[in-house]
Amino acid sequence: MVTILALSNDVEKRLSQLDLSAKGMDAKELIALVQDLKKGLDHQAAGPAAGPSGDQVRKFYHEIIGLADYIANARAEISELRPDDITGEHLPMVADELDAIVGATEQATNTIFEAVEAIESLSGEMPEKVSEEVVDCVTRVYEACGFQDITGQRISKVVAALKEVEQTVEALQSTFGEWFAAEDEVGQSRAKVRADGKPQRPDEHLMNGPQRIEDAISQDDIDALLNNG
């Protein structure tokens, strides 16, 4: 196809250079022009060997359409990501929840310690054989409480990984910033759908799960609220 196009351009150029109205026109030049034209037509008639077939063109076309669809889908998926939500809400919330797990396990472990240390302090008042068994059990509890340190370290690693994700999303956001802002406006008008694809419940805004200690109110406060009027 490129060859034919090049030939066509060449013929057009040479025709424009010919002074067809002149009686003293060079016949050799005209013959050469016609021969080139014929060569071009022959080339086109030769078909498959000379250029891409119709099937190849169709395949190429479908690949381009597929690529365009892929880009459109990726664009829609990126739009669904809502980077502001991820970096501003979801990731910090997950990090807070994980920190709360560490805090809760530490508190529970301290409670276990207090109870077991009290038992151990009483072991001196027990018969020797009983005391030995009690101390042995207490030791096993101490050893087992090491889980809090280990899980805490693992959770810290997860939090660090989440921060990496957050930074990557922020980098994406800075690259596609304006486009995301435009998509976000569109997103506001979309039907509210949860991350798991299910529609939001009417009381979705009240589904907060267990609260961190500093955010929670006590049972006494709850009782007071219920009993007040």
Binding site: E106, T109, N110, F113, E117, E120, V135, T139, Y142, E143, C145, G146, F147, Q148, D149, I150, G152, Q153
Partner: protein, 129 residues
Amino acid sequence: MSTVDKKIPILIVDDYKTMLRIIKNLLKQLDFNNVDEATDGAMALQKLREKDYGLVISDWNMEPMSGMQLLTEVRADVKLKDLPFIMVTAESKTENVIAAKQAGVNNYIVKPFNAATLKSKLSAVLGNF
């Protein structure tokens, strides 16, 4: 017969208070009652320069100064360079153990550990008791 002075001051270092409590309680069961605590390498180094300790039991993964940095500082300090140092850590890769050994650690305990392991490492560093 025990040759170990169980009154020696021991410094335990860990950023998890739970782990400090575990080690302290296990040491108490072994009659080591003279135990101080620090929650990171920098605090530990300060305590080591203020008081004569007979043993350091330290975690590795702490901030701002890690247990490894603490060990390096201890070994580089003329007054502290011979202080027995046991690393107690969840870092269990071979490269960690090698690095700690090269830095001059006396023994290395991988978390989670039990009382018997702690006792055997203490014996290895301080002598049988």
